[in-house]
Symmetry: C2
DNA sequence: TTGTAAGCGTTATCAT
DNA sequence: ATGATAACGCTTACAA
């Protein structure tokens, strides 16, 4: 049975195709109530569904947006994707995903893939290759970056105060009495977090020591695991570690335990992201939580509202959530951990 | 600067629009080498990109497929999504995602969302509402189910041998010397796994005891956590548990530890899924691993090849991966766990 | 080997 | 309040 189109509906309802359009779109012209209901009845009877491709062709708009990221398997991204999908749905949009891989090797390919599908906008997270940026610029597509407000001030962006959040995290560990805080960072990104750590620590360490306190891994559990093993097997390892992302921290927790060390007594850990999953390691992770839901909403809104929001960059607030891995909450307090924001001034 | 269309390219290259099409699509008619290069040059110069909407309208095909699932945040789904996206990309397709929520409340809405976007096919995972099935049937869209081969034999499906896998998992725990194995299951799904557990255990338990050994939670870390707390706080709790999904098992591990119990000595755990994340709990999870990558490929291929593959149902093999949570591998063997398939006959 | 032109299902402008 | 119709950019049968 052939699918009905607008003309079939019009014929059955005894109206013109234009009227069918007016009914479907509630405009741009008014339709008499009687006519409207005849049209609706006809649509029902024929199981009519408007053809999105035709509509997209006519309107030069697909009502689909894309999310380009490293790896949907990373809880940070999957939570972001979930919130974005929900918001997109609310606003009548669909969400396409593209994984660029840890090394960003698929970055350009995925970008072109999305551009070729005529998405109305693209959110970029963890995207960095210069080729990608120039490709974006010349494509003229609607874009928002979730990373580099700094590198490309002409491109709209969102983010958090990476520098401040990192300092806060490091200082929280110092507040616990640690004199040195190690760093586990991504291979070649999030340099602002690395810089903030280094600035905060350089008051207490020599530059050589800073190097000894740093290990790199990619943004996977495995990457965090290996970086932690590397770091902790060195001669004089730190007893507290700032991990630049939750996924990595999952690997770090596992590594510390594998080495037979105790968290937080032998090694205290804090990480930055605050995904839902971070509450379910054991011990649970003390984190700086990013408001992923808020960020996702903002990103989708920005991409789907034709430039109504003028701001080029929006910064979202972060929150320290003290849990077990730093020593704030003891593992004995099963299920009683306090998930409210932590404030140093109160202590 | 207006975007170039096929006519602009044709004009610049001094050919007809048809020839431009022939060049782009490598057919259906041959093009002289010289002409082809002129066309290509013109496309470059104008930064021409074919309009996917127009193409979709003409061909009645969007080259986009959809994945409808509960929650992309569940590692099982996010890993599946990743593999599917990769395969789709290889085959020139895009992947749209839709989250239906734990209760499936958004199921119909998301389905219509995808249908309205004219996706060429939809993969359903964790979808079960009867309304959804009838909506699918009448829409005539290309579909593949990743759950219910049984309930709707007229719809193509993939899966694993849930019954056999569960039996294997339970028997593995029994082989470890346990006499009773508890069950943590999803609220109203995966009944085949529940049935298999019940069949396997009923030789050793009374029906009343079977009830005492069962707890339900939704497919989240939190759901597993609460179900485990519930189960383990009962008078005579099991010392071994079969968990019907990895996500739930993450919560179970956390719950057991919170109760101050040791894994695997006080409580042994095995779960079914075998996501990458399952190797990073502490202790690591012994799992029945599903070949997500293979399944994803198959699903995408089936959805993107116009009915070339005749099979209505394909079953994929599963593999028992012995790790720490059952006692096969001791936590001391840091990084030395054997990830090959486990065979009881060898022991 | 290349050109012409019809048609895919919409939307929206111009009539009526 | 409604109808007729020209576009939107592409593919492809048919002509040359």
């Amino acid at each position: 049975m052939k699918r009905a189109n607008r003309e079939d509906v019009a014929r059955l309802a005894g109206v013109s195709t234009a009227v069918v359009s007016y009914v479907i779109n509630n405009g741009p012209r008014p339709v008499a109530e009687a006519t409207r209901s005849r049209v609706i009845a006809a649509m029902d009877e024929l199981r009519y569904r408007p053809n999105a491709s035709a509509r997209a062709l006519k309107l030069a708009r697909t009502n689909v947006i894309g999310l380009l990221m490293w790896d949907i398997t990373n809880p940070y991204f999957s939570e972001m994707a979930k919130y974005m999908q929900e918001r997109a749905h609310e606003r009548g949009y669909g969400l396409m995903i593209g994984n660029t891989g840890q090394d960003g090797i698929e970055e350009t390919a995925e970008l072109h893939n999305m551009l070729g599908r005529e998405v109305d906008g693209i959110a970029l997270s963890g995207v960095r290759r210069p080729e990608t940026l120039t490709a974006i610029a010349r494509s003229g597509v609607n874009v928002i970056s979730m990373d580099w407000h700094l590198a490309a001030p002409d491109i709209p962006s969102v983010g958090i105060d990476d520098y401040g959040a990192t300092r806060e995290a490091v200082e929280h560990l110092l507040w616990h009495g640690h004199t040195e805080v190690g760093l586990i960072a991504g291979i070649d990104d999030l340099t602002l977090r690395e810089k903030s750590w280094s600035d905060t620590m350089s008051a207490r360490c020599t530059p050589e020591r800073l190097k000894e306190l740093t290990a790199y891994g990619d943004f996977t559990r495995q990457g965090g695991y290996q970086a932690a093993i590397d770091l902790l097997k060195r001669p004089n390892p730190p007893k507290a570690i700032f991990v630049s992302s939750d996924v990595q921290a999952f690997g770090v927790v596992r590594a510390v335990q594998h080495l037979g060390l105790n968290i937080p007594n032998d090694v205290a850990i804090i990480s930055l992201d605050g995904t839902d999953a971070s509450a379910f390691t054991y011990p649970s992770l003390t984190v700086i939580r990013l408001p992923l839901d808020e960020i996702a909403k903002h990103v989708v809104d920005k991409l789907t509202s034709h430039g109504a929001d003028e701001r080029m960059h929006t910064t979202f607030p972060h929150t320290l959530i003290p849990r077990e891995s730093c020593g704030c909450v003891s593992p004995e307090h099963a299920g009683r951990e306090d998930v409210r924001a932590f404030s140093h001034s109160q202590s």
